[in-house]
Symmetry: C2
């Protein structure tokens, strides 16, 4: 049986079935953005790992090495942040093909070190190997949080409101521009969209507000696409989610891109991956506070839906009609 | 400038030059077998990462997936053990080519889970991706130890005795047998040598004795080859080391292999990699105790040399003549 016949998420379930998801000192195991371990009472270590593989996650025809170094760490930072944690220590593994020069690696480290400095992260070790094919960058990141501050995918309850930070679909549009060979930043829209793909930023600003005010009952970053992440949250929490199609936030640049290229705006916002915006829920006692922070400009987020007692994710159109929103974001091994 | 013109260790130095090697809560940074972090006073987290890449570290023509799963974790366990730590939590990242079946991945997990069970390790998360080329297995492993129990590469002092566990060169001979196409375990020598390559075991038995008795002043596992690891220890500790050529332990199977194939026995024992035996030093107050444990059969190790005030590694022949022992073990990017 080929892996692509079962898909990435079924594969992860298969792995998960064989190992404990929690235990004495294991607070969160496989199936969330980071693992959470409590080696000593009150001292929670978060651990995340994410890799970037040439030909799968990036194309050296348009990804420069500085931004790749940045992205390899930023995608992991995002995983630590959305668990309610602070990133601290990184391990970096590189598989390096003969075509990569020492100068190119220096650029990669320039980007990696920039992000370390921005977040106060220390590179503590790693592994280097030659690679017979493409460049591979694998980062493991350690962080910490308090035991009562962990924000899980499984924390959403019926009645919670659903929010998303920033705007959606920009990274997917940026990738389409790069793939089309349209690489020169002809205008500010092009630059904005392609930068969202090449150099995505984790939403530390928004997550810091959410953690400080203990607003989020569940949280996940949008790496595969909103439709996939909504389904992850709903399934992990054992709830249903209803999202209003006309509430999904999109940037002016994305709207112009969709119009000028004839691309579906809702496909981009619903299924575009590698956005690293944050999807979160708040309970009824806190939802008003979240709305107030948003209206005061202190939290860059948009309310998009509601959690209900049930399962699955429903997309509600302006006319009141509803359709099931299937996960159609990026999935490895999908056919 | 090509990476292979500077070599793996110069590359690591280049990376290391840009980041702190220790700090407030960072006890050991880049350049040892594991990083050591002290998030809370008295609570030391060790972190190691090591990857196996198809075409570099293994060949699916003779590596079975069960043993690959075992080896991917065992090489990381070795890195935690030689820092004086206990392995606890693993993150597993897999890049999976289309040629790998779900059943093959199940075998890989069978091996991985066997080793988890043997050492009480919990798989806490990871990442899965498709791979356009070969299979890639990247493991990050977390462990713990006490702050005063960390055993560094830099702890050797003049007057210390130098020891190595087990016997050397078996894995390199096993690889030669596999590469020669001689894959059937024609006899017990063949099975012994090839198993040392396909399914190496970390020396938890020996390290447990060394840690319990606080015997080791410095320690490193032999992943690249004895000559490389001796030079690593000498350089990290700022000392010289003198090793007696006729003291190097070799198995009867290796001696027969060397003789029957016309391969140099000393090349195999001095430079053979992927052995995962342990090289360590003891100070003059403890060396007698180490020798006694060895003679009582409680510690499977051999005394091979002495640390002196100086630099570099000297190999002393039986006639008293000496030559510098250059690191000639496995190095990525070497020409």
């Amino acid at each position: 049986m080929k892996v692509n016949s079962i898909g990435e998420f079924a594969l992860i379930d298969r792995i998960r079935a064989k190992v404990p998801s929690a235990g004495d000192r294991l607070l969160v195991g496989i199936g969330d953005d980071s693992a959470a371990i409590e080696p000593t009472a009150g001292c929670v270590t978060l651990a995340a790992t994410d890799m970037l593989i040439e030909g799968v996650h990036f194309d050296l025809r348009w990804h420069d090495l500085v931004n790749l170094g940045r992205k390899s760490l930023n995608v992991n930072i995002s995983d630590i942040l959305v668990m309610g944690g602070v990133p601290l220590y990184a391990l970096l593994s590189l598989a390096i093909p003969p075509s990569i020069s020492v100068e190119a690696l220096d650029e990669l480290f320039t980007g990696f070190n920039e992000v370390c400095a921005e977040h106060g992260i220390i590179l503590t070790g790693g592994d280097t190997s030659s690679s017979p094919h493409g460049l591979m960058i694998s980062v493991a990141l350690l962080g910490e949080t308090g035991p009562s501050s962990i924000i899980r995918r499984s924390g959403a309850s019926p009645g919670d409101a659903v929010f998303v930070t920033g705007t959606l679909g920009n990274s997917a549009a940026g990738l389409k521009l790069l793939q089309s060979g349209n690489r020169l930043p002809a205008d500010s829209d092009h630059l904005f969209l392609t930068q969202r793909h090449l150099n995505p930023r984790p939403r530390r600003d928004a997550v810091t507000v959410l953690v400080a005010e203990a607003l989020a009952t569940s949280m996940i970053d949008i790496s595969d696409g909103l439709s996939s992440e909504l389904n992850h949250l709903a399934r992990s929490s054992g709830v249903g989610m209803r999202v209003q199609a006309n509430s999904l936030p999109s940037s002016p640049a994305l709207k112009r891109f969709a119009e000028s290229t004839g691309t579906s705006l809702s496909d981009l916002t619903l299924h575009g991956g590698e956005e690293y915006e944050v999807l979160f829920t708040t309970n009824p006692q806190k939802s008003a506070q979240a709305r107030q922070l948003i209206s005061q400009g202190k939290l860059d987020a948009t309310e998009i839906g509601l959690v209900y007692d049930g399962s699955g994710v429903m997309l509600e159109q302006q006319d009141g009609s509803e359709t099931a929103l299937e996960p159609r974001g990026f999935e490895h091994f999908s056919v």
